[in-house]
């Protein structure tokens, strides 16, 4: 209740406000078990990818003696075609993928928000050109383009891959953001803010964006799932020079080395599959729970 009164809360009060609303948010989330599971999954994989590698020693020494060992105390998930421990690769395999996914989602969401709002706010010629470009990119078979571009440009670094993926994904989000901003722009309280001469900064950041915060968060998460899908896609197809190790590369080698067809190499190929699937499942279930919470129509009568 306190922050509700203060027009310009200090940093401390803002933190307090966020803490109170976080508590409320968790309560709302707990009413949606699948969403809660998703949230826990995300936290787990973020820790696994960015924190676990600090504590677990990195083993990279192949030992041809124990190739494709089945799960044992020494190797809970068995070993790969070079005798390296699979669990260790899973722990170290998450960081690259999640970084690229987050960066790509940032790129595509940033493009969508900036050009979407510019198209909606400026309108006229600018609006129709942006819309025409978006419609064209929307219908393109993006993955076919990705294959061709990846084959020719051979992206190596994280940033380059993330920008490439981000540059192919922004079109549907841009259209949605444009229509959101358009509808909000026409609202009476925005017109009132204009006639009270409160300034464009106030109108965008205090009147329009707050109502879109949850909308953007949800679609950022969906953008991450799309980036994950596309990234692992081109890695498995071997279109990206293989460096370091991540779940996608594990799958590329597993397929290449015939792990698919040996009976006891199942753990080597199954571990990355499960890891990637669980990340995607957590992201989607959490995002749909957010959609349910923040979409007043679905929330039922107050």
């Amino acid at each position: 209740m306190t922050t509700a009164i203060l027009a310009r809360p200090t940093f401390g009060q803002r933190l307090l406000g966020m803490w109170l609303s976080a508590g409320g948010f968790l309560r709302l989330l707990s009413q949606r078990p699948v969403g809660l599971l998703g949230f826990i999954g995300i936290v787990f994989f973020l820790l696994l990818a960015f924190v676990a590698p600090l504590f677990v020693p990195f083993q990279n020494d192949p030992s041809l003696v124990d190739i494709y060992q089945t799960p044992s105390a020494a190797h809970p998930l068995g070993t790969d075609f070079q005798g390296k421990d699979v669990l260790n690769q899973i722990v170290f395999g998450g960081r690259d993928i999640l970084t690229v996914a987050i960066l790509a989602a940032l790129v595509s969401t940033a493009i969508a928000i900036t050009f979407g709002s510019i198209a909606a706010v400026v309108g006229g010629k600018v609006d129709s050109t942006i819309l025409a470009i978006t419609d064209v990119v929307l219908t393109l078979p993006k993955l076919i383009l990705l294959i061709a571009v990846a084959a020719i440009l051979r992206p190596t670094g994280f940033l380059f891959l993330a920008v490439l993926l981000g540059a192919l994904q922004w079109s549907s989000l841009l259209r949605q953001i444009r229509s959101q901003v358009l509808s909000l722009k026409e609202r009476d309280y925005v017109e009132a803010a204009r006639s009270l001469d409160l300034g464009i900064v106030h109108i965008v950041f205090r009147e329009i964006l707050p109502t879109m915060r949850s909308y953007i968060a949800i679609h950022f998460i969906f953008a991450m799932t799309e980036a994950m899908y596309a990234q692992v896609f081109i890695v498995i197809l071997g279109l990206v020079p293989v460096s370091g190790s991540n779940w996608g590369i594990m799958l590329y080698f597993a397929q290449g080395q015939g792990a698919l067809y040996f009976r006891d190499s199942i753990w080597y190929i199954l571990s990355p599959i499960l890891a990637i699937s669980l990340v995607q499942l957590s992201l989607v279930s959490f995002a749909s729970a957010l959609e349910d919470i923040f979409n007043p129509r679905l929330r039922g009568s107050a």
């Binding site: 219908t139 078979p141 993955l143 076919i144 294959i147 896609f233 498995i236 199942i266 599959i273 989607v284």
Partner: protein, 364 residues
């Protein structure tokens, strides 16, 4: 003074030419066709630039390769001439001229010939593989669309029941797992570990030696070979259709014309189809168009995993062999196929929704 005003008002309401042009431009069909051509043009230009202007452009690579394989007997000029015929463009001319000749050839469906089997035109290569992808993707997509709509409608009518929860959560989870991982898991569990499905016999688009024709046996064989890719394309989108149809139906059920129809004693069946169903499915038709591009794009990996000879597999082969005319051709023709599908969906939408079909209307 008053007569002046009267005259002025007459002029204003007279027919103003821009209005007629304005009308035809705004008509949805013309807009959809123009959008289609724009997409094709953008893709062709994009691929054209990609092949030529990227650092270490494949054209230069091809020329060096030709020179080396002929261990020096070919001069740079000769190698360049060969390369240009392979790429169906004249490399000496300045870029914009190359571009114009490239477009001119494209209009005659001549997009160069393959590096490896020189002589076989790119178009013939693509036309031998594109139908299989369109067949498998098309069947999978339509099946998932029809089943998805049915389940979505059912889930909305039985909101918050066990069926609703299972169908919506199950659908969204299946569709969130990357489809190529599901494909791998199918091979792992249904093939290697349990031998339920004999994968090797399903390789390729149809059993070699079968006599292609409209016989039942051949068509049965086609479906047998394509069954796995179709299942994957089905699972990829099914969750999306269920959830979109469910939320569209829920909002349609709250509309006043549904209550009014019930008040008029219309049967539940009639209301479910013509009143709720038809209005709910509208937004999904446009999404169908967009999903075609996504699925066709993703087909490459599915075709590789199941060794199904579609355009995706052929593209991967061309990429590994660095067979650039084929890459260029596949990208363009697939885009054209997707654009045509989108055009069909746009036209279908403007026919389904009268509010768009007849711009303007009597009430003015």
């Amino acid at each position: 003074m008053t007569t002046a005003i009267a005259a002025k008002s007459q002029v204003r309401t007279a027919m103003n030419p821009r209005r007629y042009l304005g009308d035809s431009w705004r008509h949805p069909i013309t807009r959809a066709v123009v959008k289609a051509f724009l997409t094709i043009w953008v893709t062709t230009t994009l691929t054209f630039l990609l092949i030529r202007l990227m650092p270490g452009s494949p054209v230069e690579l091809k020329i060096d390769e030709l020179i080396q394989t002929s261990n020096g007997s070919l001069s740079y000029e000769e190698a360049k001439a060969i390369a240009s015929s392979l790429f169906a463009i004249n490399l000496n001319a300045p870029i914009h001229e190359q571009y114009l000749s490239f477009i001119w050839n494209l209009l005659h469906l001549d997009i160069g010939s393959s590096f490896l089997s020189s002589g076989t035109s790119v178009t013939s290569i693509i036309l031998s593989v594109l139908p299989w992808t369109l067949f498998s993707v098309g069947t999978g997509l339509l099946l998932s669309f029809v089943v998805g709509i049915g389940l979505g409608l059912l889930a909305a009518y039985r909101r918050d029941s066990l069926l609703d929860r299972v169908v919506s959560t199950g659908g969204s989870l299946v569709s969130s797992i990357p489809n190529y991982l599901i494909a791998l898991m199918m091979i792992l569990f249904l093939g290697v570990q349990t031998h339920i499905i004999n994968f090797t016999s399903m390789r390729g688009a149809y059993t070699p030696g079968m006599q292609p024709g409209f016989t039942l046996a051949f068509i049965g064989d086609l479906f047998y070979h394509a069954s796995l890719p179709i299942t994957i394309y089905f699972l990829t989108q099914i969750g999306h259709w269920i959830l979109s149809m469910r939320s569209a139906t829920l909002s349609a059920l709250e509309e006043d014309y549904v209550t009014a129809a019930r008040a008029r004693g219309l049967s539940d069946g009639r209301i479910r189809t013509a009143y709720v169903g038809r209005n709910a499915v509208l937004p999904l038709v446009t999404q169908l168009a967009i999903s075609v591009g996504f699925i066709v794009g993703g087909a490459a990996i599915i075709e590789q995993i199941f060794a199904y000879q579609g355009v995706g597999l052929r593209l991967l082969a061309a990429v590994t062999q660095r067979d650039y005319p084929v890459i260029q051709g596949i990208v363009m023709l697939t885009t054209i196929a997707v654009v045509v599908a989108n055009l069909a969906a746009d036209l279908l939408y403007s026919k389904l929704d009268p509010r768009i079909g007849r711009a303007g209307g009597a009430a003015g």
